[in-house]
Subunit: 245 residues, 2 copies
DNA sequence: CGGATTTTGCTCATTTTTGTTCATTTTTAG
DNA sequence: CTAAAAATGAACAAAAATGAGCAAAATCCG
């Protein structure tokens, strides 16, 4: 039996939401404890299942934090600096919009305790906001599985019915020639609406995004304040960059 | 017996809302005092139950509302039966709505692999749908922290722009005199819109909900099919009840 | 075919869980 | 109020589950 096939069979056995004993799976598949255990550990590593003490297994309950956490690990310190600075710009009474980027995600803990209403279309963001009991509104829409966020015409039409004091946006890259760019046209549409309906807007872009150009242009480089952690000398002429330390 | 399963069984035994002696639970489960005690202390730590002096236990006095994982533990087997039956009614190509109840939550694993679009206003539901890679749309709105769901005027206005083949709803209780009732008026509004915009509607109500009457009436008892796990003889005249086995 | 790599099942040390025993506290009955 | 009975909490030993190491078997590749 090929391991990958066996692991699929295990997932099939677990497809009901119940807790199942490793022993019964063992009998079902006719393999040894060790083999089954290795499979289960692999599946747990992939966040597909949860291993319980006492010999039980069940389907993983929630996995939405996975994607964003890998992104956050890239340059976490820089992003955290930017996030902290961005959060310090938020005042009591503000209504803010956050797009589903890893840097805005890191802002959330710094918002705890503030009297603020946060709108977002990011599922991970909503989960985090809820767990910190921050007043929030979900902008719904079709779910894009790769980024765990709401996109599409419904999201856009909802976005266009809200006005915010401040919005905080990420992007794929920024450069002198091409301005701020993003890789996804649907996300761009959301960002543009946020910029349109927000009194004040900020881009949160760590220095590793500099020089990167992707498919869709979101804004000119000098249009909005850009919070970043290092300002290359070639950008010294731009007064809208904010250095976060 | 796997500890997690045993703890779910304890919650099930306690689901009647009465005070129950540890001794009777001990006999029911056939475990020693120590083991039971350790389970009970764990459940108390999770705020799911209250331990009383003199060997008594009961469900935690709900300061707010029970969260979804606690709700799921109550009568999990019955709910799982109902969920499985409900999911079997879903066909490829369906567009369905699920409200944020624990029984609809249990439907989700059974939907995996089907060609279906799921709309929901439940955050936990969306997380689970995403992790099983089921095509889904989030109905946004203000977040109600106690139930992790979207409610309010925005949610209602979005709801009113969608039509579904089928909708699956929970409720707080049902009785002959008062029909199907719910404890929250905002949730009722969502349910009413779902019923209005769905070609076919189903209520998922396990037998422990029978005889419970709460604040707001959602529908008459005979209006929609009700999936349940036990049909009391007093309801034998109703043809819209579907027994799940 | 032969060598290298992966997979598998076994063994054993470690950790977790469980049931028993016993001292201490709380409740009940007289 | 006192004493017996029950419940509780802690300690301990047995049983089960877990994790790591290792050698045999299976698979892959040239």
């Amino acid at each position: 039996m090929i391991p990958a096939v066996r692991q699929e069979k295990i997932m099939e056995i677990l497809s009901s939401n119940e807790i199942i004993s490793t022993e019964s799976i063992m009998k079902d598949l006719g393999v040894s404890v060790s083999t089954l255990r290795r499979d289960l550990m692999k599946l747990e590593g992939e966040k597909k299942i949860t291993l319980l003490h006492g010999g039980g297994v069940r389907l993983a309950q929630r996995t939405t934090e996975l994607n964003i956490s890998t992104k956050m690990d890239l340059n976490r310190d820089a992003k955290d600096l930017i996030a902290k600075k961005a959060a310090s710009l938020v005042e009591d009474g503000d209504v803010i919009f956050m797009d589903p980027s890893s840097t805005t995600y890191l802002m959330i803990p710094y918002l705890a305790g503030k009297q603020v209403t946060v709108l977002t279309n990011g599922i991970s963001h909503i989960n985090q906001l809820i767990s910190l009991e921050i007043n929030c509104i979900m902008i719904g829409g079709s779910i894009k599985l790769t980024t765990n966020s709401c996109v599409g015409p419904l999201t856009e039409s909802i976005m266009d019915t809200f006005y915010f004091n401040k919005c905080f946006l990420g992007a794929s890259g920024f450069s002198i020639q091409s301005g701020i760019t993003n890789h996804d046209i649907n996300e761009k549409a959301i960002k543009v609406l946020a910029l349109k309906n927000s009194t004040q807007s900020y881009f949160l872009l760590d220095h590793t995004k500099y020089g990167i150009v992707t498919m869709v242009k979101v804004a000119n480089l000098e249009e909005y304040p850009i919070l970043t952690d290092k300002i290359p000398s070639s950008l010294s002429g731009y007064s809208n960059f904010v250095l976060c330390t």
